[in-house]
């Protein structure tokens, strides 16, 4: 599931609008388990694609860079369950990179559909 077009120098997160579906999330968080090789190819201002990933019964939300490599997981914030639910309903989100190094990536997550 794509969270909007990923790639270099992405747009700043759009203004929040009320859709009424409970998916108007807008949050800034650290990614967990940042992968060095993928993070090294990301710059501030990039947009990362957000996807669900399943392993057995477990499910998580990951961010991929423009080349498709996993940069890290969205896992450390109170609204995670809601984000997972919205992603499962195919609501598109994007992770806008605010700060990045080989071992840390801070993103702002927001939905991208009109």
């Amino acid at each position: 599931m794509s969270g909007g077009p990923p790639g270099r120098r992405g747009r700043a997160p759009r203004r929040l609008q009320q859709s009424g579906d409970g998916c108007d999330l807008h949050l800034t968080v650290d990614l967990i388990g940042v992968r060095r090789e993928a993070a090294d190819r990301v710059r501030e201002g990039d947009d990362l694609r957000i996807e669900l990933v399943h392993e057995g019964a477990a499910v998580g939300a990951i961010c991929r860079n423009g080349e498709g490599a996993v940069v890290g997981a969205l896992a450390a914030f109170p609204g995670l369950t809601r984000l997972l639910d919205c992603l499962a309903r195919e609501v598109p989100f994007v992770a806008h990179v605010e700060e990045v190094s080989s071992t840390r990536c801070v993103v702002t997550v927001s939905r991208t559909d009109p």
Partner: protein, 210 residues
């Protein structure tokens, strides 16, 4: 030679930064999050300039609980209990490095560990057990008197490096909802202090009032 069992979680990463062992060993023993642990441990070791090795021994058929994708045992003090895991990891580290002059194996046990193999009686006993065998290897748990937060602060590990750490019990990428992820989040929030506790909640609020 001092060898650290490095899982890539907050505790062992902090001990790596604090103790600077001669070598770090990550063991893929068949646990479901092994790939995530290896990636995290590799990143931590590289950032700290430490030697890192991976040992692969598939014991997945012998595990219990979420790490093995099975039901937790009634014997477990917490669901993620994998029977005799630290005993197994210490033995494997000894087997791998004793011929290279191994003197100490460092474990990431902390004060709040609930499993018997992270607590003082076990740590004393496994130290004696290893020491009485060839090589006279000692087993140390330098953070056994510290909480996770105290350990991170004591270690001096850079905050930026903690982003690479990983403690999920159930999958390659942090799920955010297992006990390992929850403890990881709690510690990170405490490390970042009031800014994270208040800020994350505020920043995570939704336009719809979540």
């Amino acid at each position: 030679m001092r060898a650290l069992l490095l899982s890539g979680g907050l505790d062992s990463a902090a001990i790596a930064a604090w103790q600077r062992p001669d070598v770090c060993l990550t063991v893929d023993y068949g646990q479901r999050p092994a790939k995530g642990e290896i990636a995290a441990a590799d990143s931590v070791a590289r950032e700290l300039g430490l030697r890192h090795e991976i040992a692969r021994v598939d014991l997945s058929a012998l595990g219990l609980g979420p790490l093995a994708g099975r039901a937790a045992s009634d014997l477990a003090r917490a669901p993620e209990w994998w029977p005799y895991r630290n005993q197994m990891l210490v033995t494997l580290a000894g087997m791998r490095f004793v011929a290279e002059g191994l003197t100490e194996i460092l474990l990431g046990a902390i004060r709040t560990d609930v499993h018997a193999d992270g607590r003082a009686p076990f740590l004393r006993t496994v130290d004696r057990l290893m020491h009485l065998q060839e090589g006279g290897v000692r087993v140390m748990a330098p953070a056994r008197h510290l909480s996770a937060l105290e350990l991170v602060r004591r270690s001096g590990i850079p905050r930026s490096l903690l982003g690479a750490t990983f403690s999920c019990h159930v999958m390659e990428y942090a799920c955010g909802r297992c006990r390992g992820c929850e403890k990881h989040q709690e510690t990170l929030a405490r490390i970042d202090g009031g800014r994270a506790r208040a800020g994350t909640a505020a920043r995570a609020s939704a336009a719809t009032g979540g």
